[in-house]
């Protein structure tokens, strides 16, 4: 019954089944939808082939939203990983108050997304935000900066907020991975290299590389597919500055009652995300997917 060699499926099914039930079935359904005209205000759900795809790909928002999403992801995922890993490395140090810092680092994680948005609005708000307060207070600027109302700045701000929310997980995962490194390997490294950065790059990084790849994939996916925080902060604006592709799925489906188009857009994003995963795993080869030696 428990023999793994003979019944590997028995060990896998508990994980595969829920995923299949709550992801594969809905995905299949969504795919079906993407090939049909499913508009709630119109009768019937006729098959339309790839019309929906053509429609979303040629829609007015697609180009901007797609670029925004891709840039957002290309910035957010590496930023989260780099900052998270650096913080994790730093937090391995023991110093007075290190436990406090370790705990505080987790704070962004325990805040629901809507709340993070509120707090960051408060940070960036032109009239009562803390940053402008400080800048005005010290006389660095004489008129408040319109953080969230200036296209480039708004993009940067939502990026900061997004990175902020994702860092704790990166820290936790990296620290867990770091703790799984044989301490003597690290000791050997402290003898071999005096340069902490090199020590990280040559000894520590290879040991946590697989985990970093997972982190990158996860963060790329998250950055590519979430929009709650961004929309709560900017509503996608000003103009189209922070309009994200993932939100358009929602808009097509629920605001325009066109579920076919929404689903089609989702599968366009799947294609991009899959490409992305392939790129990440190619760029950072790790034995993540291989057979065990």
């Amino acid at each position: 019954m428990w023999a793994i060699k003979r019944y590997p499926l028995l060990w896998l099914l508990p994980a595969l089944l829920p995923v299949a039930a709550f992801i594969v079935y809905p995905v299949a359904y969504a795919f079906w939808t993407s090939l049909h005209q499913v508009m709630l205000l119109f009768p019937g759900e006729p098959f339309v082939g790839f019309d929906n795809y053509a429609r979303v790909l040629t829609s007015s928002y697609f180009r901007t939203a797609f670029l925004n999403s891709v840039v957002f992801m290309l910035l957010a995922a590496p930023l989260v990983v780099i900052l998270g890993v650096s913080a994790a490395l730093f937090l391995q140090r023991r110093f007075a108050g290190s436990m406090l810092v370790r705990s505080v680092v987790l704070l962004p994680w325990v805040l629901p997304g809507a709340i993070s948005a509120v707090l960051w609005i408060w940070v960036f708000h032109p009239s009562f935000g803390i940053i402008n307060g400080v800048l005005l207070g010290v006389g660095a600027v004489d008129t408040p900066i319109q953080w969230l109302n200036t296209p480039r700045l708004a993009f940067a701000c939502v990026l900061v907020a997004h990175v902020w929310t994702q860092i704790p997980f990166a820290v936790v995962l990296t620290m867990a991975a770091l703790s799984a490194i044989n301490s003597e390997t690290l000791e050997a490294a402290t003898i071999d290299c005096r340069n902490g950065w090199k020590r990280f790059w040559y000894v520590v990084f290879p040991e946590v590389k697989a985990m970093i790849v997972v982190l990158l994939i996860y963060n790329a996916l998250i950055a590519f597919t979430t929009y709650d925080l961004v929309y709560a902060m900017t509503g996608g604006g000003p103009g189209t500055a922070t309009t994200l592709l993932a939100f358009q799925i929602w808009r097509e489906s629920f605001a325009m009652y066109d579920f076919g188009a929404g689903s089609a857009l989702a599968f366009v994003m799947v294609a991009v995300a899959a490409l992305l995963i392939v790129l990440i795993t190619r760029a950072l080869p790790s034995d993540l997917f291989g057979e065990r030696p």
Partner: protein, 402 residues
Amino acid sequence: QDITLEFVVWNYALDTIQDNVRRFEEANPGIKVNVTDYTWPDYQDSLVLRFRGGTQTDLLYGGQDWLPAWASAGWIAPLDKIAPEGMIDTLSGEMAGFALSDVTYEDQVYGLPYYADTISFLYNSEILEEHGIEVPETWEDATAAAEKLKAAGMNRPIVYEYNQELPNFFDAFVAQVYGRGGDLFDEDLNAVFNQPDNAAYQHLEWLRDAFEKELVQPENHESNIITTMNTGQHAFTIVYNYVLAAMNNKAEQPLAGQFSLAPMPGEAHSTLGFAKFYAVTATTADDPERAEAAWKFIEFMAGQPYDVAKRWAVEHGLGFGQLPLLEDQEVREAWGEWVDMDVLSNQIENARAGTWTEWTAVWSAFFRPLLASAMVGEISVEQAMNDGAERWNTLREQFANR
């Protein structure tokens, strides 16, 4: 046998809703009402999901912009189906014109107002006084006033609710166009707003100019407008009346009492009036037992003697579609705390209903990003208006042929 009605709301002042429901239950033994609330931005999506998923829903808050779509999709039912003969006519008679228009689709009344309100032009009277500025009569006045304030060191005199994902964004724009005395559509529902002499066209240009001159500070949620205006760094805003009530709330806000309502600038001083209403789903209307209970509920909430509507007005400053309440002493007294009743009454009388079709909501979702882009100068006003008009016409055709 108890009946439990499923009542879906957005969660503005949820405790008051629940208190009202409790009172209803006390008055109507045997009927229980289960309240499910969603946030305003999620509300219509959640309802669409409930409709599509077939989740038991008896009563709900409706909105003027969704009514034609929901009614034509067969999700909600006309109240005649559940109300006693003649009752609806009676109640309609006491409704403000824009409110009645908003709850009516193809000549049938689908709801009774939960609240009905106008979108208003608000200003900080102390600031205006301090700078010797008159209350703007026209949009050009508004620009002039804002420029004067800006010159005097006020960074962004106008606070503007700018969130392309909320229907409010479109509603506010329409209200401003109505202030100018124009409309976006002609009698036959043709889009005319892409003509440069159309008021909408001109107003969008006005907005674009105001943004360009850095007179406007966008806020993406009305709740932020309350706090932002209360920092005293801004003089004007355009928003729902109950927001004014919150801005002038002495218990909470530092500058309470400084904010006043002015007639919407423009030649007509008109504005958009709208109604949110209690509606009944089609499935419930078809089930006699539930239908009866549902009617009792709607009648309790929105029917005579309008106690609940009055409560909303008194406690939260929500407007109402039931005209008799305008004369109610208690209401006038409570409102007097935060608004000049005469100005407000005038504005209400001067308000117009919007143009709501089956495809308005869909179109508005498409049009709002265009508006937003045009305001900040990403695209030209002309392009925004033309694209919007084109989409309008396509949709109109599609719906005609469906």
